[in-house]
């Protein structure tokens, strides 16, 4: 009896040790995959002269915050613009997508619903460059070029379809009885939407907002084409200009890159479950 317990315990210990071996292997894979990000952080703490060393240093030989100081002095404006674009994209996207998701999930008019969804999924596949060139012409006529609004409206084209699909998939799952009870009490669509469906859809609203924020924050194409006002340049276009020169000041570029990657990093650590859910629903659910 005791012997079998001992063997079992030993077997379990071996199993546990073996599973940590898998963790180790996973760490190696992730180390390889995330090495470029390590390199960003690594270089961001270097001196200009460390950049010209061979072999390339694996750690900053003389760590310094010079890169960050320089980045912050030039990038404050970029960060501010990026924040405006990102938050603006969240607002426009939620305003357009939330009511649409409600109607597609809860109003029985199936044919219009699937037609709209069809157009939406297909339309968002249009190459950004095509949309951008046409919007350039349109905004130029409307004298909207170089305004925050122009880029925000364009950035939302990446987020709206995704937000509608994610929120609709979520709203379909809310039990009909909850809305029925409200109908008995004489509630119309607006009240059901505002006081029942919206509060229950918090997860989906957060997922849609997070992704809209990331889309707006990470956009490069629309800001590059629709904006030439240096005061409205976002951090992505800023980096693009930095790395385009003949001699690149790598530590400050990489410090800027670290700052640009902050939102994604925060979301990845704080809001993991929303992100994995968002990717899967966006790609696979109709």
């Amino acid at each position: 009896m005791t012997a079998t317990v001992a063997t079992q315990a030993r077997g379990q210990a071996r199993k546990r040790a073996k599973s940590w071996l898998w963790t180790l292997l996973a760490l190696v894979i992730i180390g390889l995959m995330l090495f470029p990000f390590y390199e960003i952080v690594n270089i961001s703490f270097m001196h200009e002269t460390d950049i010209l060393q061979y072999p390339p240093p694996f750690f900053p030989p003389h760590p310094t915050l010079d890169g960050y100081r320089q980045a912050l002095s030039t990038a404050v404006g970029y960060i501010q613009s990026s924040l405006i674009y990102a938050l603006g994209t969240v607002v426009i996207t939620l305003l357009v997508a939330t009511p649409a998701a409600y109607a597609l999930a809860r109003v029985r008019a199936a044919r219009i619903g699937s037609l709209l969804l069809f157009v939406l999924i297909l339309a968002q596949m249009a190459p950004g460059i095509v949309v951008a060139i046409s919007l350039y012409a349109m905004f130029s006529h409307l004298h909207l070029l170089n305004s925050y609004l122009a880029v925000i409206l364009a950035d939302s084209t990446i987020a709206v379809p995704f937000a509608i699909i994610v929120m609709r998939a979520f709203m379909i799952g809310i039990p009909q009885e909850l809305a029925d009870a409200a109908v008995v009490d004489g509630a119309g669509h607006w009240r059901i939407f505002w006081s029942i469906i919206l509060p229950l859809s918090r997860t989906a609203l957060i997922t849609a907002s997070l992704f809209s924020f990331l889309f707006g924050w990470g956009d490069f194409l629309f800001a590059l084409i629709l904006n030439s006002n240096p005061h409205h340049t976002p951090i992505t276009v800023g980096i693009y200009r930095f790395i385009g020169g003949f001699s690149v000041e790598w530590p400050s570029v990489m410090a800027t890159a670290v700052i640009a990657a902050i939102p994604a990093t925060i979301l990845l650590t704080v809001a993991q479950r929303y992100i994995a859910a968002g990717i899967t629903v966006g790609a696979l659910k109709e």
């Binding site: 898998w22 996973a26 390199e39 357009v96 199936a110 190459p127 095509v130 060139i133 490069f220 992505t236």
Partner: protein, 319 residues
């Protein structure tokens, strides 16, 4: 459209009082009002730009056209000039190579990692989430560091290659015309792996564990389990991932712009970045729009396939 709504209302509320029926119809119409912002948005920001691009591609549309509003119709003129441009073949060929290369490696590596994470081990969930970083960070951030990694003299990639004694030469990843496209391809594969991994992992999770248990009892090893269980059951998800990946890869812009900007001398230009440079460097918007048209045909053909496939397969899987 109106008669569709009416028909549905009648069917749903057949034997009731007329008032109830009209109330239901009104209720449905109010519900449809919720679609108005989205419909307006779709028309203004997707349908109009797409149609406008098609129109532009048949006009001599230059920088002057923005001021004067004049853009004479020239029929297929832009397409003729586009096809006879010496860079056209390069751009098309690059688009094909870039897309197929990205799809193949993103998918196989993504699948391998997804299979790896099928096993439960300490911290597996957290580590899997970390893998998403390349996909979530702004592409320009990744592009910037890849420029540095590919640096001929001080880049890590050449350092590793030389340390392994593959070659003692400094490879000019970004400036050698034969390598520029391969360099952006490598960076793009890296960016796309997480997306493939997440979705394929999700697909693997949906396969009932009892199937593997049964196979293990029958003596099937890991490879048999993969090729007789995982792969056949994963096929619908794999198709969706590949079709969607194709649509998105054809449109890749940021990666190429940040790493090579289509250079040197247009050798790493795809149809997408070329359309940008035709429009905004050469200021020949009609020509850029024509390149955009070709892209749209590709994207929409595969987009339609994706829609057909995703709808049908998901419905079957759901049952």
């Amino acid at each position: 459209m109106a008669h569709v709504v009416e028909g549905a209302a009648v069917k749903a509320a057949a034997p009731t009082l007329p008032q109830v029926r009209s109330w239901q119809r009104r209720d449905r119409l109010i519900g449809l009002l919720f679609l108005v912002p989205a419909v307006v948005y779709i028309v203004v920001f997707y349908v109009y730009p797409i149609l406008y691009n098609i129109l532009m591609s048949f006009e001599r549309y230059t920088a002057k056209s923005f001021v004067t509003g004049e853009a004479p119709f020239i029929g297929l003129g832009n397409f003729r000039r586009l096809v006879s441009n010496p860079d056209f073949t390069t751009a098309v060929w690059n688009t094909v190579l870039f897309t197929l290369g990205s799809l193949f490696f993103q998918f196989t590596i993504g699948l391998a990692i997804a299979v790896f994470f099928q096993r439960k081990f300490p911290l597996s969930g957290f580590l899997r989430a970390l893998m998403l970083m390349p996909w979530l960070a702004p592409v320009l951030v990744s592009g910037a560091v890849w420029v540095r990694l590919f640096d001929m003299d001080y880049g890590t990639i050449n350092f590793v290659i030389r340390s392994l004694d593959v070659t003692s030469q400094h490879i000019a990843w970004l400036t050698d015309p034969h390598l520029a496209l391969i360099s952006v391809l490598i960076a793009n594969i890296w960016i796309g792996i997480p997306f493939n991994m997440v979705i394929l992992y999700g697909g693997l999770q949906d396969i009932p564990g009892t199937l593997y248990d049964a196979a293990a009892i029958d003596g099937a090893g890991p490879w048999e389990q993969f090729s007789y269980i995982s792969w056949p059951l994963l096929r619908p998800v794999a198709t969706v991932v590949l079709l969607l990946g194709l649509v998105y890869t054809v449109k890749v812009f940021d990666v190429i712009m940040s790493i090579t900007r289509g250079g040197p001398a247009n050798v790493s230009q795809t149809l997408n970045t070329w359309a940008y440079s035709l429009s905004f460097s050469i200021l020949d918007f009609g020509l850029g729009a024509a390149a955009g048209d070709i892209l749209m045909v590709v994207v929409f053909v595969f987009g339609l396939l994706y829609l057909r496939y995703a709808y049908r397969e998901i419905r079957e899987v759901g049952q």
